[in-house]
């Protein structure tokens, strides 16, 4: 009796899983559903943009920096850091080029510590 009940429960669970799986699979791959969901996301994002703009204006009226201003400063700092990395690489290349010139002119067996720094692009 108990085994029969357990089997029935198992069967019921398997049927439920298959039914739910099929239905949900159909839903999340349905182009119309995806399209409508995207419209809803678009409306939310537009709302966020409007809300952010209003906040920016209010903060500007109070002579206070807004989130947008802070993000802009952070992005400027990122740009400066990127530029510094580029300049450091250029400087290293310049030093390498200067160091490798006399080494190349000398014997083929260069100093081992300089070897790793000669190859670059």
């Amino acid at each position: 009796m108990f085994t029969m009940g357990e089997d029935m429960m198992k069967q019921w669970a398997e049927n439920w899983e298959k039914l739910m799986g099929d239905q949900l699979e159909k839903l999340v791959t349905n182009e119309k559903f995806i399209s409508e969901m995207s419209k809803s996301i678009a409306a939310t994002m537009t709302g966020k943009a409007v809300y952010s703009k209003m906040l920016d204006e209010q903060m500007a009226a109070m002579n206070l920096p807004s989130r947008t201003d802070i993000v802009k400063i952070m992005q400027k700092l990122t740009d400066i850091e990127e530029r510094l990395v580029d300049l450091t690489e250029k400087f290293e290349d310049y030093v390498d080029a200067r160091e490798s010139r006399p080494a190349a002119a000398a014997a083929a067996g260069a100093a081992p510590e300089a070897k790793g720094k000669k190859h670059k692009k």
Partner: protein, 341 residues
Amino acid sequence: MIANMDTIAQQLDAISEHYLRQTAGELDTYPRGVTPREEVWRAGNVSLLRFESPEGVEGQPILIVPSLINRWYVLDITEEVSFIREFAQKRPVYLIDWGYPGAEVGHLPLSHYYHRSIRRAVRFMCREHGCDKVDMLGYCIGGTMAYAFSCLEPDMVDHLVLLTAPIDFKDSGIFGTYADHFPTEEFKQSMDFMPGWLLAFSFNFVQPMGTWQKTKMFKDKFESKGFMKLYNAMERWIADPVSYPGKAYYHMLTELYKENLLSQGKLTTAEGLLVDPAARRSKALILNAGKDHIAPLCTTQLPQSDKAPVKQVTIPSGHIGITTGRNSKDASKSALEFIMN
């Protein structure tokens, strides 16, 4: 509203983290990656990690380019299941850690990541090892970026392993359909980044029975210590989402998913350089997964114009399973054999 939802999600995340620390605590002790490593270079969020190899291991270094969508340590999840650990036994291994990008890098284009960042990493490795090219493995979108890099800098890459990397986005499956409908222009106007929690939600959303199936598997196997170790490590990884930089996300959706520019040889960097598949010279291995719903088999194929030597190995697993599942050893073995020969 999305910003508010993001804040709520972050607070919920903090509460759940606190709860986990207070009660079970165990998940939090799981490390983010198991192979010992050191950070050898950093610029902003991006850092280059070097993994420890046994003494005497040398040769052309391998650079691993992980996905920008999630954390890298899925490739180094436990001592028993780790691509990185296996590679590090044979060659010096480096990995680009994309970190946790936020609004401060929201203005950087996708090419910043697939060209500038990878080039800096390769440059560092070449200087360290006295070589002029490296071997490379790219996973998921990291593979797409590694491929784009090998087209831009053909002299810098020797062997290229494309691990479930979408290259041809013409029939990119369910994610392609979502990308086609995604309001990219509204996103561009309103967001500095695509929040990690929303990305994680979308991955769950397209597999609606995933959590149910995972729970069933947990019920059947929770008494196995080996299973629980991998399960907890995976849960730690899943609960560690990363946000995608805004402009780079916009470029990924428009230039790759919607317009399929990479495969057509029309993709250009922010500096105007053409990413030309015909220019690529490195030997490539397409290592794809037969049950992959994120990068279906047809998306992993290289463009017709790419005439460099290519091999293909298909592993019977899913997109994540290829790195952590029961066939992951076959995948890492295939990759290593290809690189070593």
